[in-house]
């Protein structure tokens, strides 16, 4: 846990101007993406892009050679830079040899990554950024807040004061005249400069072409007006053919901004020529230098765990949907790349330790994964980062102890019983815990916790043994820790509901924690031990279905056990069979088409919160809504029903304020519906939402869908 990062997080959360800018930004980009996704088959297009990127990265060494040959044949000079220093030195040396005084630059995250502008400025050359957002952060001496929108955190007043200082004249704080001033001041830069530096969004090997995208038009001017153009290109941008570039173009702007295409897409191949006259060049640059930068990319390519990160097309949509980013903005991340993908890139390009700290902020909500146009499993990359750290440095003492307890159900139960006996003084009239001693106070500062129930679920369900024979489908109930220890009544509701639905439920007594806390912390050995135990416990009665009320557990059982057991032949086969039987409760009821067990006599309004692991982990969002309405309730949709509630075991300990800010947005959306009951399908979400509402003395009730369907609330 890092005190410095936590302090930076607190600062960002306390900055009201920033928070207001972020909520505007989140709203705008959400609308943009909806627009961008209209009329296309996103899944098919992203599958296509994913495959093309995978192929390109697989063949990268050959593609680099092909690109170099074709670019050189067209008149470009290609330089391969192994690291930041070599790229910077090459470009600075070139500028010195050509006697360059003034450079104009279009936006390029890679040049930020290698610190090119500062390097050139140190040699005494004037460098002006020309993307308006990048220009603003240059003048503010800050780092970009967002891959695509570097200055999303700035107000017009702040921007006007930066240009007032630059130009030495009072600049209007009204948007339109401010923009006019900025444009005019940039125009003067273009006409004066003698060198242009750009990045490239794509490089095409078959023709030696670089592709540069801008909406403002600055990319056209930077790459044409000066006699010398240097394009700084990450090697991972190289793709084999034109049609590969199209795969990027089809999704890049749609994902981030919501338009079908970026306004200017510029394909540049070598240097040009005046037609029809014997002049030695054209009106564009006389020289084009393409600096291909590695700087850790080959290392990433060589690692099976992280290779996928190279598929990133830097569209920024993962930031637009990230609840952590929405609370902090990009500058809190500390280096150049932000959000989940930035956490991974930071490890390879900048600072492993910072990356580890950043990885603690990820709640695993999978929003990024669900929108990534290159189909990158960003939460999976983050988990692998954590696992890599655990392999190298081991677990911190607290976690080591905690996982050694959860690994052994008997130990866990005695620990829970001991806590349940000791918790008395902490309980309030609602049996909630509002304050715990250090270090757990960081949790109770954000949410109230439910008291532990000394009468554990396992002992309540001893009668539910596995039926030897049954005409109705046999359903094994996997309860998960939250139900077992905090909400045992919910477990009893589930059994009743399953019976009323004509099924034959039973409770496998040998089940244990699903291992999610250990797995997502990167402790694969504890997770594997638990997977093994659960696979045996849940397979033994040969159930037709295994049903859960915590989608976090369901994702472990259904998906992650498969990856944990890879290579363990017999166990893996069992895990595969188990996986096929696992259902979320609402999924099973919808699939079997059971009649509602209970129907309310009087229509009552409720709202529904989509748990991250149910909607994005298992792809289930329509089923619970149908069941709620079939039971006679009227559903009032909240805004952003599928936004994360901010629950995250480790994150809650490391960054309680962050989780609190994500929770506050969720609670505000719930309150805005005006209904007094929120239904959800995940016990962890129930815990988080109830805890937050209780902390706020709100009368709004949180009901698990199993409870709702089992009996009137």
């Amino acid at each position: 846990m890092s005190g410095k990062l936590r302090k930076q997080v607190r600062q960002a959360l306390a900055d009201e101007t920033l928070q207001a800018a972020l909520s505007r930004f989140t709203m705008l980009t959400k609308f943009g993406r909806q627009m961008g996704m209209t009329g296309i088959d996103f899944e098919a297009l992203r599958q296509d892009l994913h495959e093309r990127k995978a192929k390109a990265i697989d063949n990268l060494p050959a593609l680099i050679e092909e690109f170099k040959a074709n670019a050189a044949a067209a008149g470009a000079v290609v330089f391969e830079a192994g690291n930041a220093g070599k790229a910077n030195d090459y470009i600075a040396g070139l500028a010195r040899r050509r006697g360059i005084r003034h450079i104009i630059k279009s936006k390029s995250m890679l040049t930020e990554e290698i610190g090119l502008r500062h390097h050139l400025e140190r040699t005494g050359i004037r460098v002006d950024e020309t993307d308006i957002g990048e220009r603003i952060v240059q003048l503010a001496r800050e780092k970009p807040a967002h891959i695509v929108g570097p200055a999303i955190h700035k107000t017009t007043e702040q921007i006007a004061s930066l240009f007032t200082e630059l130009l030495g004249e009072q600049v209007s704080t009204e948007s339109q005249p401010l923009l006019d001033t900025v444009r005019q001041s940039l125009r003067r830069c273009y006409l004066d400069a003698d060198m242009g530096i750009s990045g490239a969004n794509i490089a095409i090997a078959e023709t030696g072409t670089i592709v540069i995208l801008t909406n403002e038009g600055n990319g056209q001017l930077v790459t044409t007006l000066s006699p010398l153009h240097v394009a700084v290109v990450g090697i991972e941008k190289i793709m084999p053919v034109f049609e590969d570039a199209n795969a990027v173009l089809r999704l890049l702007s749609r994902s981030c901004v919501g338009t079908k295409m970026t306004v200017y897409t510029s394909f540049i191949t070598g240097t040009g020529k005046v037609s029809g006259l014997p002049l030695p060049g054209g009106q564009g640059p006389r020289e084009l230098h393409i600096v291909l930068v590695d700087n850790g990319r080959s290392r990433m390519r060589d690692s099976d765990d992280f290779r996928e990160a190279l598929y990133c097309i830097k569209c920024g949509v993962c930031l637009n949907v990230c609840p952590v980013f929405a609370s902090l903005s990009g500058q809190t991340y500390g280096h150049v790349y932000q959000g989940g993908i930035g956490t991974v890139l930071t490890a390879f390009y900048h600072d492993r330790e910072r990356s580890r700290e950043l990885s603690e902020m990820c709640l695993g909500c999978m929003s990024c994964k669900s929108v990534c146009p290159a189909g990158i499993d960003i939460p999976g990359l983050i988990r692998r980062l954590r696992a890599q750290h655990v392999r190298k440095k081991g677990l911190p003492a607290g976690k080591r102890w905690a996982y050694s307890v959860i690994k052994h159900p008997a130990r866990l139960e005695s620990a829970v019983r001991a806590c349940a006996k000791l918790q008395g003084p902490f309980l309030d009239a609602d049996s909630m815990i509002n304050r715990l001693p250090y270090p757990l106070n960081s949790i109770t500062d954000t949410i109230s916790l439910p008291g532990l129930n000394i009468n554990l679920l396992r002992s309540r369900l001893t009668e539910y043994s596995c039926p030897a024979q049954s005409k109705s489908p046999k359903v094994a109930f996997y309860s998960g820790c939250v139900t077992s220890f905090a909400y045992p009544e919910l477990g009893e509701d589930v059994m009743r509901l399953l019976e009323k639905s004509g099924l034959a439920p039973y409770y496998p007594q040998e089940q244990a924690c699903c291992g999610a806390p250990a797995y997502f912390s990167g402790d694969y050995s504890s997770a594997l031990a638990l997977a093994q135990r659960n696979i045996e416990a849940l397979s033994s009665g040969n159930p037709d279905y295994i049903v859960t009320v915590c989608p976090g557990c369901a994702v472990m059982l259904k998906k992650e056990f498969l990856s944990l057991t890879t290579g363990l032949k017999e166990l893996h086969e069992k895990a595969v069979r188990l996986s096929e039987k696992v259902r979320d409760l609402s999924q099973l009821l919808a699939e079997l088409g059971t009649k509602p067990a209970v129907k309310v006599s009087k229509v009552k309004k409720v709202t529904y919160h989509d748990p991250c692991h149910l909607k994005r982990g298992l792809g289930i969002s329509a089923e619970p809504r149908q069941l709620i309405e079939a039971a006679g309730y009227s559903l009032v949709e909240m805004n952003d029903a599928d936004a994360c509630c901010g629950f995250g075991g480790d994150t809650l300990l490391a960054h309680p304020e962050l989780c609190g800010s994500i929770l506050r947005r969720k609670l505000a959306n719930i309150k805005a519906t005006g209904v007094d009951t929120v239904v959800t399908g995940c016990t962890a979400c129930v815990l988080q939402l109830r805890g937050g509402l209780h902390k706020n003395n709100s009368p709004i009730k949180v009901v698990h869908i199993a409870r709702l369907l089992a009996g009137e609330v």
Binding site: I136, E216, T269
Partner: protein, 233 residues
């Protein structure tokens, strides 16, 4: 409906959605009248234009000049030809023309001529009220205009003047990005070693910025308006 017509309709719909203003002309005269009308309405006094067979067919430069509007060719060869009234322009003659136009004594050396001509043209682009360029084809799927060139003047004439007008042959519409890539790869680079032309620009709508808070603003750093004239004659 014939396929070309479908593509054109789709192109028009998509281009209009991007914020471009579109005019379809079914005769040369209608096209010329439209350009003259646009220039008049916007108070245009100077036009920079790049090589365009459509403009040649319409005799557009002459018609604009006749209406009192100064028209400057931006391809250096065409610029020189315009001044030399169609006569051959060897290097020493070109040096004279550039010297006369800039008031700067330029030696008859290709390097020097190109340097001074570039500077002269930069001023022309920025000072012009309207840039007229011709797109090689449009893309129906996205409402995009595609321009291929080696010289670099078309992209400057499209980006620097206050307004931009693209001329487009209504029969030249590709269906999709994939079709566009095929067309490009089939067009010769024109320079040895080039498999495709030096500069290929896909222009889709009006330039914008979201970096100034308040809205997404048009006219970020390029022209204030994008006009498209589609000729179907």
């Amino acid at each position: 409906m014939p396929k070309d017509n479908e593509l054109l309709e789709r192109f028009k719909t998509e281009a209009a959605l991007t914020g471009a203003q579109i005019k379809v002309a079914s005769s040369a005269e209608e096209a010329v009248e439209y350009v003259l009308g646009l220039a008049k309405e916007k108070g245009i006094t100077t036009v920079v234009k790049s090589t365009s067979s459509i403009a040649d067919r319409l005799d557009l430069a002459a018609r604009l000049s006749k209406a009192g509007i100064k028209v400057m060719e931006t391809s250096i060869a065409q610029w020189a030809a315009q001044l030399a009234r169609g006569q051959e322009v060897p290097i020493d003659k070109l040096a004279e023309l550039v010297s006369a136009a800039t008031g700067e004594k330029v030696p008859a050396e290709p390097e020097a001529i190109l340097r001074v001509a570039r500077r002269m043209l930069k001023d022309a682009y920025t000072g012009a009220g309207l840039g007229i360029t011709e797109a090689d084809f449009g893309i129906a799927e996205t409402g995009t205009l595609v321009t291929l060139e080696n010289e670099g003047n078309a992209r400057l004439a499209a980006a620097l003047p206050k307004l931009h007008l693209t001329l487009l042959d209504g029969a030249r519409i590709a269906g999709s990005l994939a079709d566009a890539a095929d067309l490009i790869k089939d067009s010769p680079g024109g320079i040895p070693g080039h498999k495709v032309p030096t500069f290929i620009t896909y222009l889709t709508g009006r330039n914008t910025t979201a970096d100034i808070p308040g809205a997404i603003f048009a006219r970020a750093q390029g022209p204030a308006e994008e006009h498209i004239l589609i000729l179907i004659a």
